[in-house]
Structures are given as C-alpha cells and as structure tokens.
Subunit: 402 residues, 2 copies
Amino acid sequence: MALIVKKFGGSSVANAERVFNVANIIVNDYKKGNDVIVVVSAQGDTTDDLIEKAKEINPDGASKREMDMLLSAGEQISISLLAMAIEKLGYPVISLLGWQAGFNTDSHYGFARIKNLNTERLKNEIDKRNIVIVAGFQGINRYDDITTLGRGGSDTSAVAIAASMKADLCQIYTDVDGVYSADPRKVDTAKKMDEITYDEMLELAAMGAQVLNNRSVEMAKKYNVELEVLSSLENKPGTIVKEIVKMEKTLIKGVAKDTNVTRISIVGVADTPGIAFKIFNKLAQAKVNVDTILQSVGRDGTKDITFTVPGDQCKTALKALENAKDIIDYKEISCNEKIAKVSIVGAGMESNPGVAAKMFEALYDAGININMISTSEIKISVLIDVDYADRAVKAVHDKFID
Amino acid sequence: MALIVKKFGGSSVANAERVFNVANIIVNDYKKGNDVIVVVSAQGDTTDDLIEKAKEINPDGASKREMDMLLSAGEQISISLLAMAIEKLGYPVISLLGWQAGFNTDSHYGFARIKNLNTERLKNEIDKRNIVIVAGFQGINRYDDITTLGRGGSDTSAVAIAASMKADLCQIYTDVDGVYSADPRKVDTAKKMDEITYDEMLELAAMGAQVLNNRSVEMAKKYNVELEVLSSLENKPGTIVKEIVKMEKTLIKGVAKDTNVTRISIVGVADTPGIAFKIFNKLAQAKVNVDTILQSVGRDGTKDITFTVPGDQCKTALKALENAKDIIDYKEISCNEKIAKVSIVGAGMESNPGVAAKMFEALYDAGININMISTSEIKISVLIDVDYADRAVKAVHDKFID
C-alpha cells in the first residue's frame, strides 16, 4: 500500500477511448490497495482551441488574467470526464479544481509560482478512499483569482502534490516510454535509461529534452520526490528519476538540443562594477529567463556581455534593455535567433577533462563550428548554427554512447 | 447614474461577432456613467456539446456532482471571452465565476438553490469602476464544490445579483423583443406588452411562455426587482415587469401553452385524511414539480386524485408512487402524455366572472374539448388534447385581444 501521484498529459486523455485507457491504469493501482491522486492536463487540443477563440476576440492579446480564466476551463472539462469514466468503472472518485485541491500561487498570471499547497481537502478525500482527480496547471492567488502555472505546469502540480502529501512515487505519463540518451526520433542509436539523477534530468530538461518540465524536476529534487517517466500506452517500466548515491564513473547520460534559444550580445558596456547586476536585474524584472552568460575581458574601458534567452522571450528582453538605456550605457545590441544549443549531460563529468575535448572533436569531425561554450559540473553546452543542430546531436551521441 | 444588471443568454454570445455586439451594449450603458454587472450563460451549443462528451463516457448518466463540474466550464469560457471583448474596446472589466461572485447554494447538484449571495467582491469591483462579468447558472456549496442552478439558472443569477446589490434595473436580453400576448411565431395577431406585473409574468412563465424562468420572476417579485425583457439584436425598449399598482380593469395579458405536461390520475385512493399529504410528500421527496391538482368527491370510500407534472418528470413521479405502494393504497394509476395546457393570464380576472365563460366559449367555437380546468386569482388554465394546442391558443387569443 502506497500513495501514488500520477500525471497524464493532454494527449493521454484526448478522446473517450483514451480517457478510459487512463481510467483503467488508475483503477489498476487503486485495486491493489494504493491511494491514488491523479493530475490531468486539458484534453488534446483544447488549450489551443481556447487560445484561438481569444485571438478571434482580441488579436493584440487579451489580459493575462482573463487568459488564465479562459484556459483553466480546459482542465475542468478533462478532470470531470476522467472522473465520470472511473465512476463508470465502478470506483469512488472525485474531481478537484486547482483551488479546491489547495493550490495557492502568486499573482503572476500565465506563469504563476506555487506559494503553498493546502492539503486538507486532498487528505480528506484520500481518507474517504476516493480516487482524486486534480486539475493540473492551475491555482488561485490571494485575491481568489484563477492563475495558471505556464508551460509544463501540470508536471509541477503533480510533483507539488507528491511532495506535500509525501507520496511514495510520482509517475509522469507521456507518449514516450522513458528518458532517452537522445531524441529517439532523430538518433536511431538512442537508448532508454532505467535510472537518472535529478541533476542529469534537470540539465536534459533545461537543454530542450521535452520529456519533463524543469520546474517540476527542480521541485522533485528539492523535496526528494521519486519520479517515474513512463508511457500511458505501453504497460512497462519507464525511467526512474531519483538521487543515486553511488556514482562510479563518468557517464554521459544524454545529448539534447534546444532550438528555442536566442543569443543576445550587448556590445561596449562600461567596464564598471555593478553593470552586470543592472542588466540582469532589469531582465529579471521583465521575467526573462536568462540562460548561459558570457562576459568578455574588459578593454578600453568597455566590455561585451553575451547571453541566451528562450526564443519567445527575445522581444521582451530587447524591450527591457531599450527601456533601461538611461541606466545601462552600451554601444549596440545584436541578436541571433538562428542558434541552437547542444548539450551533453552526465554526473561526474567535471573530474574528467577529456569529456569536453571529446565533444569538440565530434563536432569538428562533423564540420560544425562552435559559437559559444558553457560548462557546469554535469553538463557541457555549445551554441551552434541552428541548421546543424540535428547533425551535431547525432555526431556527439555516436561519439559517447554505444 | 444607476446600477444596472444585464443578463445575456447563450445565443447572444454564440460567436465572436455576437460577443462584440453584447460588449457594445454593455459599454454604451457604462459610458453614460452607470455601474454595470453582467450575467452570461455558456456560448451557443457549449452546454449541449459538454453533455454529449459526458454521454460518450457514461451513457447511463454520470454523477450530478461531476456533471456540474463539467457544465460550469461553459460559462467560464463565455465570461472570459466577453471580458476580453470589453478590454479590446478599452474599458475596465473583470470576469468572475459563480463562487467568486459570492453565490453560495445548497448541495442539490444540477438544480441547486441559492442560499445567499456574498456581495463583497461584487461591491469591491464596482467601487473600482470595473464592468463585472459574472458566470450565470453556477455557485458553490458548503463543501466548496461547484453546483449549477438548473434550467434558466442564469436568469435567477441575474435577479439574485440585482436584489442583493439593490440594482435599479435588471435587464434580461433574449432573442425576442419583449413579452407578447401569445407566441408571435404562432399567433400573428400577438401583441408586445409594454408592462406586465410579476404575477402575470409568473403565470405566463409557469404556463410555458419560455421568455423568463419562473424561479427568477418569483425572486424578482419577492425582492421587488424591476425586470426588463428585451432583445440583444434590436436597440429598442422591451417589456417591463414590475408591481403595477393601479389596475383599472380586467386585462388579459397573454395566452400561453405548455406542451411539456403529463396528466397522472390515481384512481381508487382510500377516502381517508392525510392521503393527499402522503402522495404529494412522496412526490416532493422525489423532486417532482406537481402543478394543477384536482381531487374528485369521495364515493364508496374511495376518491380519485389527478394532477399534472412536467413531461420529463413523469417517469420519476410514477416510480415514486410505485415505491410508496405500501403506504398509499390505490386501484390504478393512469397517465396521459398527449396533453397540453392553455392558459390566459391577467390581473383582476377574479373579479370578472365572465372571463372564464368567454374562454370556454372560444374553445367551444373552435370545437375543442376541455379535459380539466383550474383557476387562480389571475389565471385560467385548461388541459386539452395536445393536437389542438396551437388552434386553442389562437382561438382564445383572438377572442380576448384585439
């Protein structure tokens, strides 16, 4: 007997047949005596359809508050339908909206952070031996207004519940059967991993492996929630994400690429203390997620600062810097959107200097030029021309993983 | 400067164009300095589509709790879209779900009653000069679960807000331009009324005139809320429903028919005290809305009790009586679904005995047989064969209204 949290994405509940497939997976675990809490996203294309309706009304972009009101209706539909399917199978079930399940967030509509999870209702329902179906991706703020958690928010909802309810396992169901050493649709030699650490998963997620949202992995790491990534269509074990203590040798766990990345260079910034703070503070205020940062050595009293942001935040970043022209002096800003980031991830990499060289060799052999390099304890990333991204992933993967 | 509550049905907001039409109506009143609270139903066929989805999952009928969870998503979509349209027009607006607007109901899922309306949030938003868009038809119960108010519930939501907020006027927008003396699609001589009393409207509503839900009229009467029934597509005054003090002569305000009616006869009931109580108590427990009741004079120690119920509650009524066979003794139950009720409504009718005779004469002239008659202070209803319903309405209308 365990408490299991399960999360199903929109494609897993896209139609009545799939809803019953998911209902059967849930009931199977419940029948064994487990307590089961399920987090669901909106059905299939519901969210896109709702966004389309909003665009019809206001193509310039509706307020985020009203967008969250609109979009959160999507999960409301999917949770009630899934609950009805479980009722039909003859098991006790109740669906809960984000606010009913206790999700209190900040007021950052469209990308809210969970402030706390009041588990009273969840606990009551579990005590009654109800299967609980929770709307992912949503919560309420202090004004009782509905907020959404942004992309991949349902993963975060699931991990938050698993953490707060001290669940034994948090299973994230997707359309792939686990975490691979590279995208199996692109690299035919990609291998499924049985286990991976949080940090490795985090690097893979941040690097563009779309399997798990990185906020959810961060939270899982912080609260030590054991995750399993598995398929809702095949009944077999997936990849377990957890803290693995013994780490005997350098293991390259995966190669990932991220094409949703833009490189921004600020040229000719005054070489004075505090300038980096001013720049990145402005960007943080504008809610821009800055990734890799490189700063050139100062020369002639100025220096250059280069960094990457997600492609869809590029305009916001440029606007924020434009507006801050009076406090941040610079010669010019250049921007390159035709960029991809290719990364290798693996614990213990830092103690093995040969790894970086091996990666660069693979790229050299494939005739690919490197724009920018950044490294962390468990990852090496390079920025390259986006046209070479798939070729680079294959070259690096084949060099490391056999 | 006044506080105006406006209610728009699903067809008024069925698509983007209609949403903007409604947004313009709202903004026009707001621009004049009025405070405006708007109640909206789900868009066009949304509710039917959601019911269809539920049937696909569980054709035997899902639990009412989950149905309410599902259906209430419909208004969530329409309120946010309408708010976006008003944003687009450049006016301050906020959408609120039933629970956010303070609707507390009992736990009778699918047909909940409003227990109280906590107006704190509504008042705050009005104080901020926001146009407030409220999801009709929905509330929450004491367990924080979503409930719906049943058919015509959005009218009730609007009147409840108007009553609690002491609004100056509650406008119910429909696809007709007011209340008519008969269904204008059936009777070409039907006339639009400028004013009508609550009681007259109530009788017309109960008698099958689909313009206003009778719960909402009852509430409007109780709290003295002035209603206006008008068209969302034509910019002209509708029909005002209010207490009209001076009543100089008998005025037949309208002729209505109701074909959703079944006559149930319980034959050979013991002629003992308390038997009517037992029967109608059982029916009340089964939530059957009993309308006209007639009881025959006792003979040979038994009597017959005949009453009408809405057509869709016939099965429930029969089942309840079947189950109560041990406490209610009777010979047999007969049931006639091929029945229509035709009624004339008008204040002051009681003091004019010629009215009933005139109605019966009209039916006699048209060759229509009367099954059952019931009268109240302001209404006379007859039950007739459903096939003659339209003919009866025309005959009676032409006799009274010129």
